[in-house]
Symmetry: C2
Subunit: 328 residues, 2 copies
């Protein structure tokens, strides 16, 4: 066989293999408009012969986390963590009882805490997430996630990630995309496990943060987490966080709530091919059904705008064969 | 030839090629302790058989920019840019003349400006870097860098990058490192050209920043740069910026001034093999000679600490065969 013939055979073999691989890329997605929209977009931006071809360096996809990649009902996982932390740390912080929000959290008075709204939650998160180094905080988070179980599904939170979305992350990366998480949740709450669970390394996690300061502690250079807000990566903060961390406008954005609206708008308003997708929670049986009236993950404005903006809306009940990743 | 024989031959060919490539990896470095220290470190962390092997995901190297990767004398390039911008924009901002620092900058009164110190420079940078979108600001920077020439070398600033450091960046990447810039300079001042010049993409550039806000402008989702400081990525800010953007402690840090001290300390205080390097500007003939007395890029404390900390100090005059990258 000549070298050219060998090369041609090789190419044919590789192409048929890659075709088979592609056909199986999203096995947990039912055939339908959502799956077709994803595949059509990915093919047109990654095929060098396509007029919509996008260089791999520009193939950036951003994903919300809570409600987009993992379960967020009946409360944000990070809030469940903060509620346990506040009780565990309360004995060392008698002054917390002077603060009505923290007192309510310590006493498990969810009504008062709910009434304090987002401001109350931020306060709770700040004090319970501060005081350690980032490395020690990672250990605290990892160890809590190892122990904690979801109240309804009785499984680890890191197992309550959506299998179709894991496949989507892998499918995008297989096609030359770089995948980022851009979440309202804490950046240091996600980093300890995002690589293992989602294949997203620490530098590709963008999130909310409290302030960190550098200090020499007992002659050792140390970073210390402080009980003061640094950045809120939610709503209009998401495009700002993306710009700060990634420095490029993504070409695809994936979210599930109004907190993702500006990220979807900013991503899809760029020139060239763009893709926006909203996960609509429609499956009360296998997961949860909620949108406009939910205090967690409210989806209202973004749902109204989706059709006009050409964003794909995933109907969880219809579009997903399975919801959660199989138990390991 | 059997398959095994073919594989063995292939391996031998590849190894001899890679050996040759390694031997030539740092051609602009003279043989000496600095070059040896770099090569020894890189080999021991990248050889899977070494007891000091570090997984590629952890092979993170951080580089200061001004004075470490490109020339910073007689003034920071970004300051030269800001001084031209303030004059160009002054007619649209008559209020600037009420501010003594800005008035001095507009009038070219360098004595008053110098007396205003770092605070004055930050003020100047904030107002001259604000008011545009990040994308428009990138165009302004790129176009200025295309026109501007260094007062002594009469070359573009982006040509006044150190050839030995370009080789070092490439050598680290060839050995599985991810290379980041961590600079006191503006993140959006570096991103427009860092990929082309250094091979460092936008998401791997960490720097100082002004605030950015999301807004709908004429119905278009827009990011707007504001004349207010967001983050100063210098001195104790560098480990904080690294933690925020990278989320991991680097194993190697490269700097040239006391502004890099805490980055060097924090990087090299980690467990396992670590590497710190300081570029000492000792070559008045080919570049500049300065350290403890310089107002730009002062190197004093870090130089005192280097030996005790095991940091490599590059003597530019002795260690570098050539200084600048060849003209293109």
């Amino acid at each position: 066989m000549t070298l050219l013939a060998r090369a041609a055979l090789c190419a044919a073999l590789l192409m048929s293999w890659s075709g088979a691989a592609l056909a199986q890329a999203l096995p947990s997605w039912n055939d339908g408009p959502a799956k077709t929209a994803i595949e059509t977009f990915v093919k047109k931006v990654s095929d060098p012969a396509s007029p919509d071809f996008v260089r791999p360096e520009e193939r950036i996809a951003v994903f919300d986390n809570d409600g987009t990649l993992w379960v967020e009902q009946p409360m944000y996982t990070q809030l469940a963590f903060a509620l346990e932390r506040v009780k565990a740390l309360a004995p060392q912080h008698p002054e917390w009882r002077q603060n009505p929000v923290l007192k309510a959290a310590i006493d498990g008075d969810m009504k008062t805490l709910a009434a304090a709204g987002e401001k109350g939650i931020i306060e709770l998160v700040m004090v319970t997430h501060a005081g350690s180094t980032p490395a020690d905080f990672h250990k605290i988070v990892a160890s809590w996630l190892d122990e904690a179980r979801h109240p309804r599904f009785k499984r680890k939170y890191t197992e309550l990630v959506y299998q179709p979305m894991l496949e989507l992350l892998a499918y995008l990366r297989d096609n030359g995309f770089t995948t980022y998480i851009v979440s309202g949740g804490g950046i240091e709450f996600m980093r300890p496990w995002a690589d293992k669970v989602y294949g997203v390394p620490p530098a590709q996690v963008v999130g909310s943060s409290i302030k960190t300061r550098f200090d020499m502690v007992d002659g050792k250079p140390t970073l210390v987490r402080e009980p003061s807000m640094n950045f809120i990566d939610d709503g209009p903060g998401k495009p700002v966080g993306i710009n700060q961390h990634i420095g490029q406008r993504p070409i695809a954005a994936f979210g599930n709530s109004d907190g993702d609206l500006q990220m979807l708008q900013w991503t899809t308003a760029g020139e060239g091919p763009r893709f926006g997708l909203i996960v609509h929670h429609t499956d009360a049986e296998r997961e949860y059904a909620y949108d406009r009236q939910s205090s967690v993950g409210r989806l209202d404005k973004a749902l109204d705008l989706a059709a006009g903006q050409g964003w794909t809306v995933v109907d969880m009940k219809k579009d997903w064969k399975t919801i959660f990743a199989p138990a390991k």
